[in-house]
């Protein structure tokens, strides 16, 4: 690992000031992604701004919703009694990711910003437009088993690896940030971006901006929810495909509200808007779910090694919806 300068501010404006001023400065939270990337030589910060002493760790119920501090760990969020009761989908998604040890270290802000696990990105001897813009995409004609089937570009077919973000996308979370130009809110929909011509940009954060919190709207999907994650081994592996499904059902199994999002299929958590539209107002039947899954797959495109995802994804959507609705 290359040496770097280190500082540990205790107030947020100081942290933002330094990060905003220096291109080579990085925030350090749990370190589970950044330290790994530094060891691999994928990133080489000139300075680490350790944000762990900033007062951003609280989880509070505010105005009917929930405000999760950027430094709240993945374990703290997943095990929080209010989250378990009111946002069970978020607990399930977080607990499907990484390992207990990593979740104890990983923070809410860091999880949102974790980089892709594309093996070409992780290997500095390989071409990768995300790591070195203009060097080419190794995956597009290479080993692309883990890669995108939605929203990719000729420049990049990497996927966002976060499980937590898939649930946050389904639940319409909002990311609160603070930067040199003040504070602002970014809807989850607009937070992560598609690769397009600039795959080096994972998200829409501006220079020097710090994530301070994630806010969840008032809880709706408290009961009929499921996070289904399909991976190469039973646990402690990244998703091939994952599905967050949330249903709000009335007394006669009518679908009042529905949220669907997928992980492992795109450069950002992938919301299945058309499938949601189709299901709204219908009743819970396997056939409706099957049709919704087909609708969700419109526009999907496989590459040489990930064609299997074109079948796995609709099957996973169907299964997640069935489990959420408790049909066996």
């Amino acid at each position: 690992m290359k040496p770097f300068q280190y500082m540990r501010p205790t107030d947020t404006p100081a942290a933002i000031r330094v990060k905003g001023k220096e291109a080579g400065a990085y925030f350090l939270a749990g370190g589970t992604n950044l330290v790994d990337l530094m060891k691999m030589g994928v990133v080489a910060p000139e300075k680490l701004v350790d944000i762990n002493r900033l007062p951003l760790r609280g989880i509070e119920v505010v105005g009917g919703g929930l405000r999760i501090g950027a430094l709240a760990t993945n374990s703290e969020v997943a095990d929080h009694p209010y989250v378990l009761e009111h946002y069970p989908l978020l607990s399930m998604a977080i607990n499907a990711g990484a390992s207990p040890q990593l979740r104890n270290m990983a923070t809410t802000g860091g999880n949102l910003l974790q980089r892709t696990r594309c093996s070409y990105f992780f290997d500095p001897t390989m071409p990768c437009n995300k790591r070195v813009p203009g060097s080419g995409c190794g995956a597009i004609d290479g080993i692309n088993r883990m890669h995108a089937i939605f929203g990719a570009s000729e420049k990049c077919i990497a996927v966002n690896p976060s499980d937590m973000s898939v649930a946050l996308r389904a639940l319409d979370a909002v990311v609160r940030v603070s930067g040199p130009a003040g504070e602002r809110s970014i809807a989850m929909e607009d937070f992560h971006r598609l690769p397009g011509e600039q795959p080096e940009l994972d998200n829409t954060l501006q220079k020097g901006e710090l994530i301070t919190a994630v806010e969840l709207p008032a809880p709706v999907f408290t009961k009929n929810v499921h996070y289904l994650k399909i991976r190469d081994r039973t646990s402690y592996a990244f998703a091939l495909v994952s599905v967050a499904a949330a249903l709000d059902l009335d007394g006669s199994r009518g679908i009042r509200g529905v949220r669907l999002a997928m992980g492992g299929v795109a450069h950002k958590p992938w919301r299945l808007g058309a499938a949601e539209e189709f299901l709204k107002g219908k009743t819970v039947t396997e056939d409706n779910f099957r049709q919704a899954a087909q609708i969700a797959m419109q526009g999907a495109k496989g590459y040489s090694y990930n064609q299997f995802k074109l079948r796995m994804a609709p099957n996973a959507i169907l299964q997640a919806l069935k489990t959420a609705a408790a049909i066996v």
Partner: protein, 210 residues
Amino acid sequence: MSRYTDKPAEQSGPQSESRRDFFKKGSLLSAIAFSPGAVLRAAENKWDEKIADEWEKIPVSLTVNGAPYQVKVEARTTLLDLLREQLGLTGSKKGCDRGQCGACTVHVDGVRVNSCLSLAVTNDGKKVTTIEGLADGENLHPMQEAFIRHDGFQCGYCTSGQIMSAVALLKEGRTASPEQISEFMSGNICRCGAYSNIVKAIQDVKNQLS
């Protein structure tokens, strides 16, 4: 008892004339290269200026297995390397060095973490427990005994990490079923495949306690 692995005088002795002069003249930023430890502490409230240089050794105070330590580390030193290389506590193992195996699992402030991905400097003021800190004198921790009784290992390389995880697992209350134990022990890989005996060892300790 306090242990020092580096010569302590430089850090804890009274400040020299020249250092005080420097404070008056230069900014903290430039002073830091000459008097790292003291300046870092003295500048507690001026964090935007308190920057440790690339090659500088930064003072870290932490408690390991009940004993206080004051050490100096480069910012890039991981907690695992501090434990193994500087403190001589080689019970925590380096498997992958990338968070993928769990061999380096220790407890920080009572919570299990991968010490290979934790920078030592971020552990200033924390309480660390390693496998060396589990036994009570000559008496092994019940989890250590159970691993022996149930053959919870073959080569033993993953074992200290497995045991540290298992002790945390009990505290977390994730031992309701063999499936739950396996899921919440999944951050510890065993290349020898001792998994089923590890689960038995954990269930045994759980039953002893209840």
